[in-house]
């Protein structure tokens, strides 16, 4: 049993840590593309597509005129007015953690707090573009340290499971959004190999979820096949950022554990999670493409949001 407020803080703490890490990956990929020779930089709108994937177009448009590299990085990394910037995400994660320190192990709290102490003093002028990759790496490492501290020291009880629910809902949301922004490059289009620009796009997409090497192990094809890329990120049960994996985890290792611990019966959030899990488990790519990849992903994002709302209701989040 936890305070409803504590459960909410744990959920959002883990969610924002996951968001900061995903954001770092997304910026990393866009930055990589910007270093490629011109022909490979398929579209002038690489940076605006990063904004779209990060779901930050609205906050950006309110502040800047052009989606230049400098502006986008500024907005996604340190902008305090962007609630999803790396800085804001880390601050939100840390403030949520601070409010529920009693529910965190000392190691988890220290990893969170030490990251924030270092990040909070950082200014944009201390982050010239050649320092950016090192910084993004650091953010990923800090997030992984947090996750490791959690896995290594947290009691496996409701408090842990609420963190896991937050992290995996965020991760699923992130994967689905990135896919949705790029869905057009994944659509099957006749025979013949993709252009080098296409290959570049697919590789970037995989990279943005840290999956470009894993893909090679999972699929034997030397060049990327778009439908394989889509399948890998949606339906592969072994890929820890795929939608199926996330929902298997949420449904069978997280919400089910809370349900069992509390013994209060099955609530709407449990039903939604199981239903979404089953939907993914029984899906195949052919059908998904037939019915529309974009439609499929939009429906998934809606379901994922509904799950958050149902968890909040079921467990008395304030």
């Amino acid at each position: 049993m936890l305070l409803g407020r504590t459960a909410a803080s744990l959920f959002w703490m883990a969610r924002y840590m996951e968001r900061a890490e995903n954001m770092a990956r997304l910026i990393e990929v866009s930055y990589r593309i910007s270093l490629m020779p011109k022909p490979f930089r398929a579209h002038q709108d690489d940076w605006s597509s990063a904004l779209k994937s990060a779901h930050c177009e609205a906050t950006f448009a309110g502040k800047y005129d052009t989606a230049s590299q400098e502006n986008v990085i500024q907005h996604l990394v340190l902008d305090r007015e962007n609630p999803s910037s790396i800085r804001s995400s880390m601050e939100t994660a840390r403030n949520n953690g601070r409010a529920v320190r009693t529910a965190l192990s000392r190691d988890v709290w220290e990893s969170l707090n030490a990251t924030w102490i270092e990040l909070s003093t950082l200014r944009m002028n201390q982050l010239p573009s050649d320092k950016l990759p090192g910084f993004l790496d650091w953010i990923k490492q800090r997030s992984m340290l947090f996750r490791g501290a959690m896995l290594g020291t947290a009691l496996r009880r409701d408090s842990f499971h609420f963190c896991q629910a937050g992290a995996f809902i965020e991760r699923a949301d992130n994967t689905a959004r990135i896919l949705d922004v790029k869905y057009h490059i994944l659509l099957p289009r006749g025979a013949g190999p993709g252009s080098s620009i296409d290959r570049q796009q697919w590789a970037s997409l995989l990279r943005s979820v840290s999956a470009h090497r894993a893909y090679r192990w999972a699929y034997r094809d030397a060049s990327y096949q778009p439908w394989n890329v889509a399948e890998f990120l949606i339906l592969n049960p072994a890929m820890p950022r795929s939608l199926l994996f996330c929902y298997d985890w949420i449904s069978n290792n997280t919400l089910s554990e809370i349900e069992e611990e509390y013994g209060d019966g099955t609530l709407p959030c449990h039903e939604t999670a199981t239903e979404t899990m089953n939907l993914l488990a029984s899906a195949n790519m052919e059908k998904i493409f037939q019915n529309g990849l974009h439609e499929f992903l939009s429906d998934f994002i809606d379901r994922n949001n509904r799950l958050t709302a149902e968890i909040a209701t079921a467990y008395n989040f304030p």
């Binding site: 305070l3 407020r5 601070r98 009693t102 030490a114 102490i117 209060d264």
Partner: protein, 471 residues
């Protein structure tokens, strides 16, 4: 201030016995060694988030309290005397509050004027006639004590509402044990780390009479932006109880509950770290969003215990302070062990005349002020400041009390120039429930500036670990 008491060194340069080993050890340390230890300590504190919030500064809204790495040491015999004095005073304070809200025998006996209580802002008429569990009102008291001689201790202030600082006492000890294990090996230092256990036992012991089974205790905090939030979280964590904000609690059908991820859970004891005024918008400040609507009514009905009790502040009021020697004697039948600082109440015309004549030597304070506002420190004030204050004092004498400046003792402290004596005070913590529990030592605050007598953390004061040696 050259003649103030030095806790380590006698006037002839010899070392006082409790400091013998420490003094020897200090001689083996270079300033570089000590400086490195300070940096290590600071990084530990910051990483653990042992900070206090400073209001109104965006950038440095969480600051560290300077930590001095040289411990302050009391011999067992010194502490026994102090402890007896604290126990006596704390017992009298609770008896006084009980009396104030019941028959007011002390007023009838002519020891304390009735107006002092009934006209006092700290007196809560809503508490009249209420008897909390075990008749304890101020369960946690932090007594601010200064030393002016080997056996001369003065109480500056009794903090009977929500005294803070205990987390620093505990974390300073943790840091010292981490940084200087060799020093601990050489000394027999009385442990203090069981304070949270004692606090939990105290809270459990004052569960309301209507509580059945194991009492559920919580710590009520105003939230993460409060200056002492770290301490609230720390204590809840160490005691193994929930840390709640007002939103987490609600009153239904005459009982107090907290909102949980399951069905609501009944709460029996609330260790609140918010002021009386914010406790219940239905009874006190109607604009408060920090408290719990309706909690005061069920408190009066004996269905929940609030720690410390609302209205306990009547006992640490500055005007009441001057009556403490009589109060102690009235309820204990004994002479006070700890001294009270002589206090002139300016409402009295003879006292006022004396104060006006000796303004340059005295400290003049507002009766209801706190945090060092609206006061005059005669010896360090300019002629002009004294003249201005004289006019203010004449206009509203009843608003002020005056005290002599005390020659605070000093302890060796590590500052920029090396190890030097700095002035200190002491806040021991006394817990009262089924019995009294006093942790050996307390929270030592040190004025880091040479000659300064201001030890408040908001004014740049630091903290020290406080050791009570065992025989």
């Amino acid at each position: 201030m050259g003649d103030n008491f030095n806790e380590m060194l006698e006037a002839d340069g010899s070392v006082r016995p409790p400091y013998a080993l420490l003094h020897k050890w200090l001689e083996t340390q270079t300033p570089g060694d000590l400086r490195a230890k300070i940096r290590e300590a600071e990084s530990i504190f910051r990483r653990l988030g042992i900070t206090f919030a400073v209001y109104g500064t965006q950038e440095a809204s969480e600051r560290l309290i300077p930590f001095d790495i040289i411990p302050r040491i009391f011999a067992a015999s010194e502490w026994r005397r102090l402890e007896a004095g604290i126990a006596q005073r704390v017992g009298a304070l609770n008896a006084f509050i009980d009396d104030v809200y019941h028959r007011q025998e002390i007023v009838r006996a002519g020891k304390v004027p009735g107006d002092l209580i009934l006209q006092n802002e700290a007196y809560l008429p809503q508490m009249a006639g209420h008897s909390p569990a075990r008749n304890v009102y101020s369960h946690i008291i932090g007594t601010d004590i200064v030393r002016v001689g080997a056996n001369d201790f003065y109480v500056l202030e009794d903090n009977c509402r929500t005294p803070s600082g205990v987390s620093y006492m505990l974390e300073d000890r943790e840091a010292m044990m981490f940084l200087f294990p060799d020093l601990f090996a050489k000394h027999r230092v009385a442990p203090i780390e069981h304070y949270p256990e004692l606090l939990r036992q105290t809270l459990d012991s004052v569960a309301p009479p209507q509580c059945e089974g194991e009492p559920t205790c919580v710590v009520l905090t105003p939230g993460i932006y409060n200056s002492a939030f770290f301490e609230h979280a720390f204590l809840a964590d160490e005691m193994g109880v929930q840390l709640v904000t007002g939103d987490d609690l609600f009153v239904r059908d005459g009982w107090l509950y907290m909102r949980t991820t399951r069905s609501p859970v009944r709460v029996d004891v609330v260790y609140r770290r918010i002021d009386d005024d914010f406790l219940d918008p239905l009874t006190f400040n109607p604009n408060s969003t920090l408290g719990v609507p309706g909690i005061f009514d069920i408190y009066r009905a004996g269905r929940v215990t609030i720690v410390n009790a609302p209205g306990a502040g009547i006992a640490d009021d500055k005007a009441v302070y001057s009556f403490m020697p009589d109060i102690v004697e009235f309820y204990t039948g004994e002479k006070p062990i700890l001294n009270n600082v002589p206090t002139w109440r300016c409402s009295d015309s003879d006292s006022l005349a004396y104060v006006l004549e000796h303004l340059e030597e005295l400290v003049v304070k507002e009766v209801h002020g706190s945090g060092g506002y609206g006061m005059l420190v005669g010896p360090t004030a300019s002629k002009k400041e004294v003249a201005t204050f004289r006019q203010i004092l004449k206009k509203r004498p009843g608003n002020y009390i005056a005290q002599p400046t005390l020659a605070l003792s000093s302890c060796p402290t590590f500052v920029k120039s090396g190890v030097a004596p700095r002035h200190v005070d002491l806040r021991p913590f006394a817990l009262t429930g089924d019995r009294m529990r006093i942790t050996p030592g307390g929270f030592t605050r040190v004025a880091m500036k040479q000659g300064s007598l201001v030890v408040n953390s908001s004014q740049g004061g630091g903290t020290k670990d406080t050791w009570v040696l065992e025989d």
